[in-house]
Structures are given as C-alpha cells and as structure tokens.
Symmetry: C2
Subunit: 199 residues, 2 copies
Amino acid sequence: MKTDQIKRETGEGRRAAIGKAARQLIVEKGLEGLRTRDIAALVGINIATLHYHVPSKEALIGLVAESIRDDFKVQAARHPRDGKTGLELLRLEFADFAETMEEAPDLIVVMAELTERARRDKAISAIMAPMGDFWRRQIAEILALGAEDGSFRTDLDPKAGALLITGALSEYARTSGKFGPAPALFAEIERAFRRSSTT
Amino acid sequence: MKTDQIKRETGEGRRAAIGKAARQLIVEKGLEGLRTRDIAALVGINIATLHYHVPSKEALIGLVAESIRDDFKVQAARHPRDGKTGLELLRLEFADFAETMEEAPDLIVVMAELTERARRDKAISAIMAPMGDFWRRQIAEILALGAEDGSFRTDLDPKAGALLITGALSEYARTSGKFGPAPALFAEIERAFRRSSTT
DNA sequence: TCATTAATCAATCACTTGATTGATAACGGG
DNA sequence: CCCGTTATCAATCAAGTGATTGATTAATGA
C-alpha cells in the first residue's frame, strides 16, 4: 500500500489523476474558473509536468469529457435488463438515476457543465451529444416496449416521452434540494405514461 | 434618425447597450469567454468608458441577469389568462414558449448560461432562482386548476407535473434541432396529463 | 553497466484581462 | 458665456494564465 508516491508515477496513472482533479475543480469553480495551475497543484505536480501528460487545456477538457463518458457507460450497464416489462425497466432507470445522484453527484454537475460548453465547442460536442442521444434512445425503447406489453399508454410517442423523462430528470438534478424527494417525481412520471385506467 | 452617435450617449442608454452587447457575446462565447474588452468594442466605446457605466465585471453580469429577468417578466405577461380552462392555459404556455424560442432564442441560451453559473455565484442565484421558481409555480397552478375543471387527471401531483413540463421544455430548447417539431412534444405532454379516457 | 527513455521541475515567456489614472471634450443650467 | 457635471479615451498597471525551455533525475532494457 504505497499511498504517498515517493518519486514517480506511470503515465496513465497521472493522466487519470489529472482528469480526476480537473473534474473536482470543475465542480468547485466551473469550467469558467478551471485553471491548469490549480489542477497541477491539486495533483501535486508542476505545471510543466501536467503539460507533459496533457498537451493543452483543450486536450485536458477532452480528457474530462472522455472520463465522463466512461463513467456514463458503466452506469448505463450496471443492471441486467433482460426479460423485464417496460414499467420494470423504467423503474430500473429511475433507480439508476437516483443511485448516481447519491453516489456521484459531481458526475451530473460536470456533465451539465460540459453539455453547456458543447454548444460552442465542436470537439466536446462530438463526445457529449452521443451521450444524450444514447440516453434518450434507451428511454424511448423502454417506452415503446412498455406500450406493447401493456405497461404504458398505446397512444404514446416514445421519442417525445423520452424527452419528457430525460428533461424532467435533468431538471430535477439541477434544482435538487428545492423540489422534494425523487420518488414523488418518479411516481408522477409513471402516472403520465401508464395505460388509461379502463382495462 | 441619428443612427451613428456623433459624440455622446446618455447614461441609461449606454448601460442598456452594454447589457445588450454582453448578452450577444454570452451567446457567442459563453460566460466563460465573456471579456470586457469585447463588450466595449461591440458597443464602440473604450474600456474605461465601460467601467464608468458599469463598475465591475460582476456588476455587468448582474446587469445581464436583471435584463433577462425583465424580458422574462414581459414574456410571462404577454397574453391575458383569465377565464380559461387548465388545458387552454397550458396551451397558452406552450405558445408563449414556442414564440420565445422563435423570436428570442438568445434569451433561452443566456438564461441557461446564467442558471449554470448561479450554482456557484450567490448574487446571480438570487436573481435567477426566483425566475425558475416562478415558472414552475405558474405551471403547477395551471395543472391544479386543470385537475379541478376536468382538463387533467385527478391523481395529478401539480408540483411534480410542473417539474416534468419545465424540464421537458428546457431540454427541448437545449437539444432543439435534434428533436423534431415542438408540437409533437406539446401533444405528448397533453396526453400525459389528460383525464383518463373513460367518461 | 550504461545508454535510452520517461517523468519531473524551476524559471520564464508572451499574452490576456479586469481595472485605474489623468486628461480632455461635450453638455447644460445659470 | 462660463463652470460644474457627465461622458469619453489613451496609456498603463498588476495579477494572472497557458505554454515552453532546458536541465535533472528515476526507471528500463540490452
């Protein structure tokens, strides 16, 4: 257990540490207030060393975006999803989201920050946009499945419904604290898509 | 029609011009890339003159936040809202939103940017948070009214429903272009809250 | 063992950026 | 017409800010 590095660190290890520190600083100060010097200080290395591992600030932000994408992929594949009804899958989605908010709230903060930046930065957009698309498509598939298996309304538009759900969850994460407990929101979403009461 | 200022400009006029230029630049480069020099250049004045009218960058961002709030208030009071059913009011809300996206898309972009910053900046938060609250409360009232007058489901949770709607509209604005035409989303929202088919 | 590579840092560069200073020119009331 | 107020700018400051340079030291393989 060599906690404190006496001397050196392997290349990939450093890159990972730099990415982690950058994410932490983005949470604290925003992308706007992100400084290479602060990152280096947090990692405990010289600025030149930081530039040795990550050539530019742009590349650094790209590194963060990639690390977010990786975390997102892990989160998306956490639970088995076979042989379940639409409603069960949707609840699984809710559970995943609640779990992420609990365990890795900074993931959501940094994602929001990068999504904002993606509007102007094509390189970031290339990484972040597919993530949003993936999420929405996954929810849309769940809704379509649920409409077939009787969990949800048959007049449901899966794509629009998916936008509703991802929007609501994002908004909840953004305003969290102000709005009450998540289950109340989850329940309302279920009612919004449930099959009409008569049979 | 004195289009080009030969010499001077009144104080309030300048402040307004500075605010407008700042908003334009925030749309182009983000809050992150907002520079006092760029604003001054866009207005056509010296940096010192800018500081004469707006003492600091912080005050400048506050000015932008206030101008956004003012626009928001105008937008919110555009149509008469008395004597209508919940569904009619909701449709009015949709129309207002679509109109804003059409006529003043930068309003939405800047609002998103400031909302993001509000997370870290208390002064901005003090201006922006009430705006979001106001919007959500207004929608919640519409939903509550519609549940009473028979437009919407009776098992509707107005607060959760409002979060669903504002989240969906924000998400739509954020991803616009990717998702199809707004009416499809509006229609799905209506179905989500409509009274169950029987009766 | 020893040359090569990988990793690190002190010092510094070139430029940006918010803000200030001191002087100057228009405006407007008396 | 004159003087105080308002508005403006050229020049400059001080503190950053991303990035580079040149040298030094640990690891690594032949």
